[in-house]
């Protein structure tokens, strides 16, 4: 879930929006009748609630703040959940870090089973499972001779990416998913939304775990 109110700047934006709405209600009421103002105010409140709801679900176009590194190191943000140990993803990481002083942050979103679980903060099991997958992925990346850090992220992969970018000045992002016919992330447009919101190179790696297991 995207929090639409994270800072004073967000609060100020809301003041301006609500202020403009209030001025329009006041003007309409003074020019016509109070009942017209009431109807207009109700319409604006309904519209505002709809916008806030869409914003909280990440449906609205927005841009994600990106921090800058500037120390010559190449920083790779890897976002994956069940596909963290996939051969295609490891190949991609190896390729991206070839001949570079590379810093890697692996984010594994804690995927809860339902929206109700998310709202009830029933995320302990999901967090623990994500942590285990994250540690396995770190070991797999260590096997490539690379150093990496890991974090368990928000259950919404796009929020998890946004959170990570606040503290990790990534130069590029790799998002790993299942093949299209089995990927809920692709179904929800995670990769497309990330490309719209983030001004960084984003690679999408499809990991077919079944095919990986079939290889002896």
């Amino acid at each position: 879930m995207h929090n639409p109110l994270r800072s004073e700047a967000d609060a100020f934006r809301w003041v301006v929006i609500i202020g403009v709405g209030a001025v329009s209600v006041i003007a309409l009421t003074l020019l016509t009748q109070p009942v017209v103002g009431v109807v207009w105010a109700a319409a604006l409140v309904g519209f505002g609630v709809g916008i806030a709801y869409r914003g909280s679900r990440g449906s609205l176009p927005r841009s994600v703040a990106v921090t800058q590194g500037g120390d010559g190191k190449h920083r790779l943000l890897v976002v994956a959940n069940e596909t963290v140990g996939g051969a295609a993803l490891l190949d991609e990481i190896r390729e991206r870090c070839r001949d570079r002083d590379c810093r890697i942050l692996v984010v594994t979103p804690a995927l809860v089973s339902s929206r109700a679980s998310h709202w009830a903060s029933d995320t302990d099991e999901a967090t623990e499972l994500a942590r285990q997958r994250m540690e396995l992925s770190l070991i797999a990346i260590e096997g490539l001779g690379l150093k990496a850090k890991g974090e368990v992220g928000d259950s919404d992969p796009n929020v998890a990416i946004e959170d990570a970018l606040r503290v990790f000045p990534a130069d590029e992002i790799v998002i790993s998913t299942h093949p299209p016919q089995r990927s809920r992330w692709l179904e929800h447009g995670v990769v497309g939304r990330a490309r719209e919101q983030i001004d960084l190179p984003i690679s999408h790696v499809v990991v077919d775990l079944a095919a990986d297991r079939a290889i002896p």
């Binding site: 929090n3 994270r6 004073e8 995320t123 942590r131 850090k149 368990v152």
Partner: protein, 208 residues
């Protein structure tokens, strides 16, 4: 958000003693989360007062609102609204200034915000003196003073918070890093909330 490095490996959690680290999602810092939760509770408080207000207006439904012979000073309150709303711009200016490392702008913005807030409160008290009715005059008087008084109390609290922030600014506190100006950011969010609530109170009580 839970984190680990490859150096710690899978044994990191076996070596950990004490309660588990808090899982901080969405990276909202604790102070901001605290003020947001507080504001949510405040919205509920105002909601209870608005419920009473609209009950009186819609369910009791007097022939005129305000009930004759009372009148509300719409124009004076409108000017007061403009004063309070402009203080949101000045507190935002103060924060934008400190984000850019402009300490002079921070001080100027905070002082202006405090003065505008104090002016609002002064005009409101002056309005109470000259209204010609009290909280004991009908349910209308009770709900009018309750709603505007509740908001006035919030302005007073906001002014106290701004006073602390202003004193600290003049003592050289606060910096451009986000973590270094939380003492202005949090009162700023609260102040915007107070402004938004007044816009709603003014529109509902004085205009509609």
């Amino acid at each position: 958000m839970e984190s680990a490095t490859v150096a710690l490996g899978s044994h990191a959690h076996e070596e950990h003693h004490g309660p588990p680290e808090a899982n901080q999602s969405s990276r909202i810092d604790r102070q901001t989360l605290g003020i947001l939760l507080f504001i949510v509770s405040e919205v509920m408080l105002f909601g209870a007062f608005f419920a009473s207000y609209f009950f009186l207006r819609i369910v009791v439904h007097p022939p005129t609102w305000p009930p004759a012979p009372y009148k509300l000073p719409v124009a004076v309150a409108g000017v007061n609204t403009a004063i309070l709303v402009s203080s949101s711009f000045t507190i935002h200016y103060a924060l934008e200034s400190i984000r850019r490392g402009n300490r002079k702008g921070l001080k100027l913005g905070l002082v202006l915000t405090w003065l505008l807030g104090a002016t609002f409160l002064f005009i409101q008290i002056n309005e109470y003196v000259h209204l010609g009715f009290s909280a004991r005059d009908l349910a209308f008087g009770s709900i009018f003073y309750s709603l505007t008084g509740l908001h006035g109390a919030h302005v007073f609290v906001g002014l106290c918070l701004l006073s602390f922030a202003t004193i600290r600014a003049f003592r050289g506190h606060f910096g451009s890093e986000e973590k270094d100006h939380m003492g202005v950011e949090i009162p700023g969010i609260y102040w915007h909330f107070v402004d938004v609530m007044w816009l709603i109170v003014y529109t509902a009580v004085y205009i509609l």
